[in-house]
């Protein structure tokens, strides 16, 4: 059953089209990731879903409620965690929680079981001012506040940005547990490696939705054959590869170059020797199974052909 339906939503700010006819849906009880680089339109979309902005066109239904017309119902069943820490710095952890509990007509006690998993690591610091918490703790507090009214739907805008690796891992474990409790979760992130944690993901760039599917499906749909080049002094080689007419695109991926050909040469190793002018064994080239980031780069290249070749 579809819990969230986003139907051809567009929104522009002056000349900038932040969202262009974005459509996707999230099933009940799903952990859904919206993945895209900074400025892709993720936050704008989240704000529209949270009923903070109006869409120019299109409509969004949360559990059948229209976010524009029935925003009151939507707000009651939605827990929203903005990308920026938006709680009161000059109130303590406990005061923040109690405040949000009371404005939703509930109490900290009533929701204790619901937020227990997220709140318990914070408990020793409940008398501390929220502004004095560390990044990871702030994030847990924000999630606790978003959960305080026991929402069915969680909307998390880049919750792991600016948080250390251990806290990030912990955070995703919490999300999984919440999902298992039956909460539908829509989470955005700029980190491709987090995509694998989601049931399904949507890739978004420049306000356009590129692809939707489970992480496995997206990788499976990768159309081209991918090669990895290893060796030393790869940056100099990257320039030459990009000049080569056979190369569709090439980009640095950690300590490798990932490469896609227009037409795969008969013997790639030989072709590379000729191109680089280096003796055999300087570089190695091998076929590679694509990851999420490769898919994203490929899709982004289709979305913006010029950018794909020049800027990656």
């Amino acid at each position: 059953m579809e819990f969230l339906e986003v139907i051809r939503v567009s929104r522009s700010f002056g000349p900038v089209n932040a969202l262009k006819e974005v459509s996707f849906s999230v099933n009940r009880g799903e952990l859904f990731g919206l993945i895209g680089p900074d400025g892709a339109g993720k936050t704008t979309l989240f704000r529209i879903i949270a009923s903070l902005f109006l869409p120019d066109e299109g409509k969004i239904l949360v559990k059948g409620y229209n976010v524009v017309k029935d925003y009151k119902q939507v707000r009651r069943i939605t827990g929203y965690m903005p990308g920026r820490f938006s709680l009161y710095h000059d109130l303590t952890v406990e005061e923040n929680l109690s405040f949000y509990a009371t404005v939703f007509g509930t109490t900290l006690k009533d929701s204790a079981a619901y937020i227990h998993r997220v709140y318990s690591p914070l408990k020793p610091f409940r008398k501390r001012l929220a502004g004095k918490l560390s990044g990871g703790m702030k994030q847990k507090l924000a999630l606790s506040c978003a959960l305080i009214h026991r929402p069915e739907f969680l909307l998390l805008d880049e919750p792991t940005t600016g948080v250390d690796a251990v806290s990030r891992k912990e955070f995703w474990e919490m999300l999984e547990e919440l999902r298992n409790m039956g909460v539908t979760i829509l989470v955005s992130t700029p980190y491709m490696d987090e995509a694998g944690q989601c049931d399904r993901v949507a890739l978004i760039d420049h306000g356009k939705l590129l692809q939707t599917g489970s992480p496995a499906e997206i990788v499976h749909n990768f159309s081209a054959k991918l090669y990895a080049i290893r060796g030393r002094n790869l940056y100099a080689l990257l320039g030459r590869l990009r000049m080569s007419p056979e190369v569709k695109y090439a980009f640095m991926f950690g300590r490798e170059i990932h490469l896609v050909f227009y037409r795969v040469p008969g013997r790639p190793a030989r072709w590379l020797e000729n191109l680089s002018g280096s003796p055999q064994g300087t570089f190695s080239i091998e076929p590679l199974d694509p990851g999420m980031e490769d898919c994203f780069v490929e899709l982004m290249g289709e979305n913006h052909p010029v950018d794909g070749k020049e800027n990656i």
Partner: protein, 372 residues
Amino acid sequence: MRTILFLLQKEFLQIFRNRLMLPVIFVLPLVQMLILVHAATLEMKKIDLVVVDRDLSSWSGRLAQKFMASPFFRVHDGGNSREDAQELLRKGKADMVMVIPAGFERNMMREGEESVQWLVDAINGTAAGLSHAYASAILAGFHREWLQETGNTAGMDIHSGIKVQERYWYNPKLNYKIFMIPGIMVLLVTIIGMFLSALNLVREKELGTIEQINVTPIRKYQFITGKLIPFWVIALFDLSVGLSLGYFLFDMPVLGSLPVLFAFTSLYLVVIMGLGLFISTMVSNQQQVMFMGFFFIIVFILMSGIFTSTETMPAWAQTVNIINPLAYFMRVIRMIVLKGSGLADIGREMILIGIYAVLAMSLAVWRYRKVA
């Protein structure tokens, strides 16, 4: 209603936890009353007067002495040279120069009249006018003395037959402080009502907390009410502090009815908070509030009649003052406190400020709903 109570609880918690806000609320009234009342005075004392006595007769000496006896003047001997005295004026070491010409006594005796020359530093026109008025009064007194002692009627003019007895109503001693205290209280209430509430509203925007608030069931009117009521209460509290200080420390009479004054102030605060709310919708951080607020407040204060009478302002300025809430409050608070005016006397102002309150607040709320 319950929601508003929770919001109020949160606001007061934050206000009392704010290290900047507390001094503003509690120290501001004290400082304003104790410093400004003394500093913002138009009374002139210790005017530096240089006397150039070219006559050196007994009557010219008595004239100089009359100035020495006055608390308003500090008399310095300027010798014989007008040029030297003028140099002192130019250097700013003297405020006024009086030149008594040679043959002063002789001409007084013979003709019954003589002139003295005054040179006045008029950079500050108000101060110059006042100093001159003081000096003229002393000269007139001197003239009377001379007439009585010499019995000389040659210079008797028609005015000396009429004696003017002055009695100043509502401020018999022309105590400038008593005039200023209500004015300072207007400033106090305005700063708290307009600046602090606007700053507090914008802070939510600046820190992003408004985003979390907006997804809760809190309605906008509840949020605004919760934001404004604390400052409404604080401003009225500070008004009481100011009145008490004025009453006990400066012997300011409080003649009129306090309930009427507080009723008017309550309405006035709605106007001022409406302006504050309006400002907060046009800016995105606290710094901009200060800039915008200053623009409004400087114009409003200077036109409000705090120092100068609004009746003497040009017609256009008086027209502008129709929309200047400070001008109403300035007039009303002085009428109530110093003159003992009742509800009937300020009825017109009360109605106007009431209309103004409705207009300003509706406009601000309308704009707030549209923007936020």
